[in-house]
Symmetry: C2
Subunit: 362 residues, 2 copies
């Protein structure tokens, strides 16, 4: 989506209100409802999506007037960011728009928990990602591999980034990040930076011709969006490699289907082609990992497994088997547990074999 | 320190024990004591250091036999890592060395809280950083600026890394990371990645000819060691830019003096020349920041200020004034609060002015 589109959309939002004022009507703005009641799992696209229920925010309503004002304050600040070509954090935006109104003691925002949902309102309201509003989240995750990337005009050969790699920025839209020469045949997403480092040191990406990405735990927005673009534009398959515990599976599912909280983002963030290559709850027996590298499931883990078992996007027989086996075994496994079989077991045997034998879950 | 030195040191540790066994003596190993009772602030070097008290770990002692075994198990695994030229995480090392002993039900390690202190013992025991033992911590932080770096044989021009930057690896010893052409005249360390991004987008490092680093909060080991090497080998001054709260000041002090817990690392991690350029508790009045961008100090904050006020390394008059003013004002300030003065206030006015007028604390 181009700069002009977003700006026009923000303007249109305001124009409607202006014309209502000029017609002496009560100014109001209609926004998609973001709550759970308006979220559904789309079987066709295999992603979590937002329905079409709307909420109306009216200026002449004591309970809505402040939010109405905040909506346009945020929209106006984003419009300025886009006009000046600058980007900023949602925390920064809060400070930028926070002030005391006139002679009153009333603040535009009292704290960031007030401005963040307004940003989300604006995102769904004009159908734009926050990155397109020039707002960024935290900078986490890194990339190495057989691809050349252009970032803000700089050409970055990701085959020559040593042990560190390219720090993945939070905004990876195509006016900032462009994909150049790419020989890679797939993407390997690793939950943990320590395992990523191990794979990078063994030059896994070179040997198996891929792009190696970590997200330092839950994949941050920049990583999710980048992976989406790579799978969509370069048609690369992606394998997700996470701990065998409910949290690892959740990281996988957020990459693949999107999340309930931010359902409206799925259509530009979710990667429905993502494949789960491990760790599987069957791996301990399969690879004869010593029993003492397993960790007992806590009560919280067990509760979470039950929740995940009930999600519509985990209803396939294979997934139910995977989860129920974890429950039955009563233990979880960390990626690092594979090191009990040797330091390079993960890069020389586990992953290559899983991919070769197509041992993944979808 | 070269590969051979560390390997020799590990061997010598073992040789002593072997000769004790051969002489039918009780095998023991002497290690520096790491507790608070052996930590002191060295006024001369202005760093937190370890004293020379020793502890003895004896094999024929029921309370020490397991730790004795663990010490050599970890030492042996590190020796193998060094020999094969591979690196790994401390979590990985735990899994690599964890096994059940013979026919017993006794594990070498029950969990990682047992192996981590043994690694620290070994570090002080043979006077090596854990990075020299080929162990890495988490990969956090990024760098851009007027410097070319060689990382694992790849040449990285840090002037051409776009919005993302070079992800700083955890191990930055000189056999992996080498400094090439550097025009930069100073280092700016920023606590927060969002502010780093803002500064990078404004090409602050280009305009003011510097290296721009963030640590995503508390500077991780890789960042601390890298900064130490840059200041020492390239004689670059470093300015530290953190939130005005006790936690920000603590981040600064760990970079500068080291930490109490890891006092033995100070001699290779601390950067005694580090200068604090903000935020200062006097900045709100000085820059006429609106009152409503300040945040009230919590009880925990107040308690922490009192602790910091008592640290020997915060006894200078200027520091006492700074801290007491924060206490008196009763508020803290985040880096992002500067955005209330405009989105690029931080890059165009605040930092350049502070550096130019030498308004820092040491």
């Amino acid at each position: 989506m181009s700069k002009i589109d977003i700006n026009t959309k923000i303007k249109n939002l305001a124009k409607e209100v202006v014309s209502e004022i000029e017609a002496s009507k009560s100014p109001k703005v209609k926004l998609p409802l973001r709550g759970l009641s308006n979220v559904f799992f789309d079987e066709k696209t295999q992603t979590i999506n937002l329905g079409d229920k709307l909420q109306t925010r009216t200026f002449f309503n004591v309970g809505q007037a402040k939010k109405f004002m905040q909506t346009f304050l945020i929209a106006s600040a984003c419009k300025e960011l886009i006009a000046t070509g600058k980007t900023t954090s949602i925390r920064d935006l809060y400070y930028m728009t926070k002030h005391t109104i006139g002679e009153t003691k009333e603040n535009t925002f009292d704290d960031q928990t007030e401005s963040d949902p307004i940003i989300e309102d604006l995102e769904v309201g004009i159908d734009a990602l926050r990155e397109e509003l020039h707002l960024f989240a935290s900078n986490r995750g890194a990339l190495v591999g057989n691809i050349t990337i252009e970032d803000s005009g700089d050409t970055i050969d990701c085959r020559k980034l040593g042990s560190g790699g390219w720090s993945i920025p939070s905004i990876v839209e195509d006016h900032i990040i462009k994909f150049k020469k790419c020989e890679a045949k797939f993407i390997l997403f690793v939950e943990k930076d320590a395992v990523w480092r191990r794979l990078n040191e063994d030059k896994f990406w070179k040997k198996y011709n891929c792009i190696l990405i970590h997200g330092q735990g839950m994949a941050p927005r920049g990583v999710r969006r980048l992976v989406r673009r790579l799978t969509e534009e370069l048609k690369l398959p992606i394998y997700v490699f996470v701990d065998n515990d409910p949290w690892g599976l959740y990281i996988y599912s957020v990459i693949k289907q999107g999340s309930i909280n931010l359902a409206y983002e799925s259509k530009r963030m979710a990667v429905p082609t993502a494949k789960f290559i491990g760790l599987s709850s069957f791996d301990q027996e399969k690879y004869k990992l010593p029993k003492n590298v397993t960790i007992k499931l806590s009560d919280v883990d067990k509760k979470r497994i039950k929740e995940i078992l009930a999600y519509p996007w985990f209803q396939k027989k294979t997934w139910q088997q995977e989860l129920k086996h974890m429950e039955k075994q009563g233990v979880k496994l960390e990626l690092e547990a594979l090191s009990a079989k040797g330091i390079s077991f993960v890069s020389e045997k586990y992953i290559p074999e899983k991919i070769k034998k197509k041992e993944w879950l979808e």
